[in-house]
Symmetry: C2
Subunit: 90 residues, 2 copies
């Protein structure tokens, strides 16, 4: 049976995962990363990679699925940020 607790958990996971999509779209479109923190995206991308490894190690499909998507989005944003720093665009 799906409880209210489960629904809140699913909603939480969907919202925090989906949230990185509009940021990735904005960053890809504008290429502007001046107000994005390099440390944030470096730590966050590494953290999501660990979540993915954790999900794989306990074979939890929800953790694997959510963190695979977030990893792609976060790594994309991080790559544009690093590119901009290397090209002195901030």
């Amino acid at each position: 049976m799906t409880t209210m607790q489960d629904i809140i958990g699913y909603l939480a996971a969907i919202l925090t995962t989906a949230s990185f999509l509009p940021q990735a779209i904005l960053t890809i479109k504008t290429k502007d990363t001046k107000s994005l923190s390099l440390s944030m995206y470096a730590l966050f991308t590494l953290g999501v990679l660990f979540w993915l490894i954790y999900g794989l190690s306990i074979a939890d499909k929800a953790i694997i699925f959510a963190n695979s998507i977030t990893l792609i989005l976060a790594a994309t944003i991080l790559s544009i940020k690093i590119y901009n720093i290397l090209c002195n665009k901030g």
Copy 2:
């Protein structure tokens, strides 16, 4: 016994939680939010709030602790972004 799996899980949680600290510091210092997505921070803050409610409902101290910190950091960034939009600073 703490397993390798547990350590990866803890590392993942610490990294994804801590990552919002440098972003919050940068945003508070510079007040620049031009390249931050409003949709991202709106969805993310709501998602973290749901994680907190979920953690409270299953009485999981780790989920409550991590998401309380992230909620404060994400809500701070979101507030500055909304303030900037209202003041036409982007």
